[in-house]
Subunit: 478 residues, 2 copies
């Protein structure tokens, strides 16, 4: 059993510095989906590179050129880092992202989203705190604590931290393909900390994620917005058409109404069904993280299956319509509906898109409207499933037990992390998801947070994992 106590002690001792590090990261509004924030995304990448160099790592900020379809924008650089280069050590590839979802105080945040703010319960609120700046900094914290403790990092580390994860990871797949046999060639396994525990107390290891096909529908007609009193009744209104189409996708109970989608879903096997009952998760956990009791199913197992291994369809919003408070009597001239489908085995991206496009075209044709409709694929990321009997997982399970004193749940994640698939396909190495945050962290929402406990114990976990995986890769215990 690795001698980790001196390392753990240093992590505790350095926690103030680690929290300041996260505060500095959250202060940079690196929103990858907003043009005017692109410079902040780049700034964040450069700041992160400095942090890695400061602990003795080497870093290249790899430029990816213009953003496809939005050539006025440069893609943010991918941070390619290395720590340690000992041919006698195994090498772990770490992935994370330094960009964040959009956030404005006016969305309803209790505190400024870009000022990390800790409350008396040790909850650290701020955009990116848990998704994914906290976990990324966790690796740097782990290296620093090893050095301070005089404990050698038992593996070589290769880092791949991107700045477009919240916006389709544009350009990353090409880079991974190019570097698979070069910069990434020494990687024995891959570890990604970019998801969440199922509940708030018990850690988990994640061996699968859903994919995401994100679409938009643009309906346009009038040359400009119109007065609904002057033109209402004589004009085909784009909103009427769009709302009809958007209303045809899914039932309130989550059932997807697009013909053929269900046929693509792999049937639930008895072996797989048996995985769910042991998972430590309650409807109370779910209701707490929802902030209400609007769950579709009344039991834990069905809820988890529909989060982990069945598809879902969400309507995100409409661009171009009236969206502020107050009453505007307008007929919007052009509206763009946004929606996405979470995909699971065996739904192929293009097969899903063909069914969705066919459905949208048929629904619009039924309306016999004179407006114009355009269906767009915004971005797609495939689902991923991994072998959880691999030493990579055995090591992580032991690290969890060492730090938290419990065996982790083995889970699949609802949110897509497309890069898992690319690493698996291009490097042919085992990929592990080792989450730091908990189910109440509200990633992508207002008041996103990371608990201090998850950040500090999580830093211990990431460090401990490096020791156990070094051992398991040489002498597997199963």
């Amino acid at each position: 059993m690795p001698h980790l106590d001196p390392y753990f002690k240093e992590v505790d001792g350095l926690q103030g510095k680690f929290i300041d590090r996260l505060k500095s990261a959250v202060a940079i509004p690196s929103i990858s989906s907003e043009d005017e924030r692109r410079t902040d995304v780049v700034k964040m990448g450069e700041w992160l590179a400095e942090q890695i160099r400061a602990v003795g790592g080497t870093v290249e900020l790899r430029q990816l050129g213009k953003q496809p379809g939005r050539e006025h924008l440069d893609l943010p650089p991918v941070l390619l880092g290395r720590y340690g280069n000992d041919p006698n050590k195994k090498t772990i590839l770490l992935y994370g992202h330094y960009d964040v979802q959009p956030a404005q105080k006016s969305d309803g945040w209790a505190t400024d989203p870009f000022t990390l703010t800790m409350d008396d319960k040790g909850r650290m609120f701020g955009r990116g705190s848990t998704d994914d700046k906290g976990p990324v900094l966790g690796w740097i914290n782990a290296i620093e604590a090893h050095q301070k403790a005089g404990v050698e990092v038992p593996v070589n580390l290769i880092m791949c931290f991107e700045g477009m994860e919240e916006n389709g990871s544009e350009g990353l797949d090409n880079l991974i393909e190019e570097e698979a046999k070069k910069f990434f060639k020494d990687a024995d396994v891959i570890c990604i900390s970019d998801n969440y525990w199922l509940g708030t107390e018990k850690p988990c290891l994640t061996y699968g994620v859903r994919g995401c096909n994100y679409y938009s529908i643009e309906v346009s007609g009038p040359g400009q917005d119109l007065h609904s009193g002057v033109y209402g009744g004589m004009t085909h209104e784009p909103m009427t058409d769009l709302i009809k189409i958007m209303g045809s996708f899914v039932d309130p109970d989550g059932k997807i109404l697009i013909k053929g989608i269900d046929d693509l879903v792999a049937p639930l096997t008895d072996e797989e069904a048996a995985l769910y009952p042991p998972i430590a998760f309650t409807m109370n956990d779910l209701h707490e993280s929802l902030g209400s009791e609007v769950s579709i199913y009344d039991n834990k197992d069905d809820s988890l299956k529909h989060k982990m291994r069945y598809p879902s369809l969400s309507l995100h919003g409409i661009e171009g319509a009236f969206y502020t408070p107050g009453a505007k009597t307008v007929i919007p001239a052009k509206v763009i509906g946004k929606f996405s489908i979470r995909t699971v085995p065996n739904m192929e991206i293009d097969a899903v898109t063909q069914l969705v496009e066919k459905h949208v075209n048929e629904e619009f044709a039924r309306l016999r409207s004179k407006n114009k409709m355009k269906f767009n694929v915004v971005h797609c990321g495939k689902w991923w499933v991994e072998d959880f009997n691999h030493p990579n997982y055995t090591a992580a399970a032991k690290a969890v037990e060492r730090v938290y004193g419990v065996k982790p749940d083995m889970t699949r994640e609802g949110g897509s992390i497309p890069v898992t698939l690319t690493f698996q396909a291009q490097l042919g190495k085992n990929v592990l998801l080792l989450p730091m945050g908990s189910s109440t962290d509200a990633a992508h929402s207002i008041n996103e947070k990371l608990d201090k406990r998850n950040y500090i114990e999580g830093t211990k976990l990431l460090g401990a994992y490096l020791h156990y995986v070094a051992g398991e890769l040489v002498h597997p215990s199963k």
Copy 2:
């Protein structure tokens, strides 16, 4: 026939000053539906009062107290003005409004919405240029040109200019009721310039307007916005419910699907049907003002009937959902759908609201969702129809023929002007709508404009009307 040439000559001579006056008015962003613009609405009222005093009128800015339901806001004052007080003259009550619809350059305006900008075709672009600052200033221009020409204004004028027309005319009805037998008691007839010609060449007199019932539906469930990957499939999503309800109101061809609404509509009589064929309006006019050919009907008469004497339902937008460009994988926690119904004889406000609320409640119940739904009445204004054989209309028709050389179309308007009804009911006097702008002015839209011709000839028209109505009220010609 009144001797008007000297007056007309002065209007032409003063046109530069009149355009500068409109420029100054447009520069004040008096948006009544946005809290943070309320001070600008008040500022606009004070500026307008100064303009009237400068031509010798007397003005009171009548305070109306707090805005009901939004008590942190004071209602903008109603401008009560007087010009002339000769017991031997007839008295005309003028109504208009000095507030405007929301506007931002980013909505797609070609020019700054609050900088009046004239192009080489004499189109003066700016929010409020045609709705309703241009027409209101037309009355002041007319008084000034009379004075400069040494022609006596043949009637007394009472002015009622409000600052909440675009936001439900809050507080105005009470004021009119209170002042009916006081400040407004001398009024012989009422004239309102706050609508538009049907086309671009031929003026019209308007004897009816549709009403407007504006509603919102709030659907909420989760305690905060959620990550669609983490929670999609296990949660009742407010957007799914709202879109289903909003999709149940109206067909793309404009047919309202709310049970019982059609039964409230007065049947079309033969006499009424005969009014439509003579109207100078073509499908080309409609398509030009639409900026496209997305008209529901292929002929002028049906198009006009559905604009003037049949109801319509428009979906305006959704508050609380994702509305910016880009891709956000969010499940919005609370969304508010906005829609309105344009009403016609004999649809009573409360009867319509009861049918709509019943429909909304039934649709939501059918969804069997665990989310909460709240139906809200935002504001309602009733339809209005007037006797167009009254001297008030005869006078206006003669003024149109004098200034433009054509007989006006007799029309009913699509957009609601609730105050017409209040004046009719409280004062028991004939109300005339005498529009200045044309059908291509794009009120409530981006690139709202008023043609220089309509502004200057329109100022002549308003002045000429005062002379003809003075005569007709004493010796009716029919």
